[in-house]
């Protein structure tokens, strides 16, 4: 498993020797996604040219914006060899709490609402991080548990009530649909987050430590990486972004009840895996994950246009996950082999 991780380990700098071959492979990976996207869009547009209309593209990006945001957070966690299955529940909790807050504080400016959502999400992420790091509970088990617990809390807070569009301040709802220079605000929020986290992961020590932790936790610890702090950071970040996703969800749909975001974790994990992030850590980028999210959204939007039975959608997602991890395994083996022959002192 760690085989996959080694090629991109940036923390050491030693792997620079093989970087041209690696860059090619990684670029090929992203390129593959872009090509798949382009083909899909082209075919769908050939069937119905409206698919590439302004409104349609905006809708596509809007649908992708929330999954993309969650996929970015999930990437950070997966890089450390973790996983966060509770994101759907965190999104639901944050969406409801934010909407409820706006309902009773109608004058709240949008940035404050976003902070509320971020706060709720970060708190949930902190719970995950503490249970995982301090309690030594494996991430899969811990977040499977909090998937239930957080959803239970949403049920508890929301009961059977629903917050409707008319209950939320118009300024907030406008934020969900309005656009600046033709680009909806929601997409801008997601893109800004994407770039910020991308820079954080590649340019900052704490970000690069995430890759180190995922590649080889033991080596990272020996090298002085503060594993506990980094893990907590990763989970808080993932939770906070899921929380922000909740705010965007409330703004976009204008209706929030206790079931918001149920089952979302599957598409987020799928986006991350399809986007080339190795499920056992150490390799991948947020940009890949974002492309993965976009591809999944385009597929689900293209199916009705192509008149393909919508029941195929989930099966396609499953096949894509299997294909993506299979491809990564294949590429990983090839890279490992080429590294061995090319650079004898790689060990």
């Amino acid at each position: 498993m760690t085989l996959l991780a080694q090629p991109t380990e940036p923390a050491t700098g030693r792997t620079r020797t093989g970087s041209t071959a690696l860059d090619l492979v990684l670029r090929f990976r992203a390129l593959g996604l872009v090509i798949a996207l382009a083909v899909l869009v082209a075919v769908t547009a050939a069937v119905n040219s409206r698919f590439v209309g302004q409104q349609s593209i905006r809708d596509l990006l809007l649908s992708a914006a929330i999954t993309m945001l969650l996929a970015v957070g999930m990437t950070v966690v997966v890089l450390t060899r973790g996983i966060d299955l509770s994101v759907g529940s965190v999104l639901g909790l944050s969406a409801y709490v934010t909407a409820d807050f706006l309902q009773s504080n109608a004058g709240t400016p949008v940035p404050v609402a976003m902070l509320v959502g971020l706060g709720v999400g970060a708190a949930c992420g902190l719970v995950n991080g503490v249970v995982i790091h301090v309690g030594k509970v494996p991430p899969l088990v811990a977040t499977l548990g909090t998937l239930y617990v957080f959803r239970g809390i949403v049920y508890f807070v929301a009961g059977g009530s629903r917050i409707n569009a008319s209950d939320m301040p118009p300024g907030f709802l406008d934020f969900g649909t309005a656009r600046f220079a033709g680009i909806p605000y929601l997409i801008m929020v997601s893109l800004v987050v994407l770039v910020l986290i991308g820079v954080f992961l590649s340019r900052y020590r704490a970000g690069r430590d995430m890759y180190a932790l995922g590649s080889s936790p033991e080596a990272a610890r020996l090298a002085g990486v503060p594993a506990g702090r980094r893990l907590l950071t990763a989970y808080v970040l993932c939770g906070a972004l899921a929380g922000l996703g909740g705010v965007l969800h409330a703004a976009r749909y204008g209706t929030v009840d206790a079931s918001a975001g149920s089952g979302l974790e599957l598409s987020v994990v799928a986006a991350v895996v399809v986007g080339g992030v190795a499920i056992f850590g150490g390799s991948g980028t947020v940009y890949g994950a974002a492309l993965g999210a976009l591809l999944l959204t385009v597929i689900s939007n293209a199916l009705p246009v192509l008149s393909i039975d919508q029941f195929w959608q989930q099966a396609i997602v499953g096949a894509l996950i299997l294909g993506a991890i299979g491809l990564d395994r294949f590429v990983g083996l090839r890279v490992a082999a080429s590294l061995r022959t090319k650079d004898s002192h790689v060990d």
Partner: protein, 348 residues
């Protein structure tokens, strides 16, 4: 499954648990059996209608699918892998059963075919995990979506419901005039087979060895890959059987049958004291875990406790079942270190 702590598996977890085993009277699995018995006794007295034979019948019907799926899941988790696709395999075999029934096949042919279909689905998981060497967590998340998707492709949103009453009423019926459900005896037999296989056969010892230390197991001549492959096949076959049971119990083949059940199964197995890192666990503990989880939900429902509490309790139990032994382990380790230090001080 995270391998975040996997590298420590050999250096820390294993010897620690070995030390513990000699130093305590009762393991986590023993404790969970006790807790389950105590809980049932207390609930029978305090929760109205819980202790009735009728409720026991309902309880057994409710826990049948969870227990059946938990048996192979235990073996798989003991080898250090996981199968999150079990509930989707139930859904897919259920849909397949509906389609075959609609096409006029006799039920006597359909039922074994469903088990075979399940085995094939399990074999696909097995091939991805063993032959291609892919992480089982990612593979079975993929097949979770794929199999559920195929179930929808087969049946869409329709339901097939016109099964003969002989079959459906047998599934939910009792033996003669007693209040012992018909499914209880097969359930005990199957559980017994799995318990014997895990704890009293070379195959079982290989399962533990493969989970405790795959490299050592391979050097000892255990075909780890082939073993895991067949465990996935068995898991699929049992899921096929559960698909048949589910369809007949609810007289309804639907694509969304058993959706989300994998979480309950994994929760019950971990609650039963199986280590998520592999190499450790007992089937009696798992049976107790399943009984505890389902009877707790049953008792809460009877006591009219709200749904949200049920959700929170399930999630918390899952975390606590892993957290508690960890806390105990580190507390004991701290204690042992202090004792050792005390012993060391006068001599040095």
């Amino acid at each position: 499954m995270s391998t975040e702590t996997a590298p420590d598996r050999i250096t820390a977890t294993r010897p620690a648990s070995g030390r513990l085993r000699s130093g305590r009277l009762i393991g986590w699995d023993g404790a969970i059996v006790l807790v389950t018995l105590v809980f049932i006794a207390v609930a029978a007295v305090t929760v109205e209608h819980f202790g009735t034979s009728r409720n026991a019948g309902f309880l057994i019907l409710d826990l049948t699918p969870v227990l059946l799926l938990a048996l192979p899941m235990t073996l798989i988790i003991v080898t250090g892998e996981i199968d999150l696709s079990v509930a989707s395999m139930v859904g897919l075999t259920s849909s397949a059963m509906g389609v075959m029934w609609n096409n006029g096949l006799p039920l006597e042919t359909i039922m074994p075919l469903c088990v075979v279909i399940g085995a094939v689905l399990g074999a696909v998981n097995g091939i991805f995990v063993t032959a291609l060497g892919l992480p089982s967590l990612a593979v079975t998340i993929g097949t979770l979506a794929l199999y559920r998707g195929l179930a929808y492709v087969l049946l869409g949103d329709t339901a097939v419901a016109d099964y003969p009453r002989d079959f459906t009423s047998w599934t939910i019926g009792n033996i003669g005039a007693s209040s012992v459900p018909n499914v209880l005896i097969p359930l005990i037999v199957v559980s017994g087979i799995f318990a014997a296989a895990l704890h009293a056969t070379p195959v079982g010892r290989s399962v533990f060895a493969a989970g405790a230390n795959p490299t050592a197991a391979a050097f000892a001549g255990i075909p780890v890959g082939r073993l895991k492959f067949w465990l996935y096949v068995v898991s699929g076959a049992v899921a096929g059987l559960v698909g048949v049971f589910w369809t007949l119990r609810y007289s309804s083949a639907r694509a969304d049958n058993a959706a989300g059940l994998e979480l309950t199964v994994v929760a019950a197995v971990l609650l039963g004291g199986v280590s998520i890192f592999g190499g450790k666990g007992t089937l009696p503990g798992v049976v107790a875990g399943v009984v505890l989880l389902t009877s707790l939900q049953n008792a809460l429902r009877l006591a009219s406790v709200s749904t949200e509490a049920l959700t929170v309790v399930t999630g918390s139990l899952l975390i606590v079942s892993v957290l508690a032994p960890n806390v105990v382990t580190s507390a004991r380790a701290a204690l042992a270190r202090r004792r050792a230090r005390l012993r060391m001080t006068p001599t040095s």
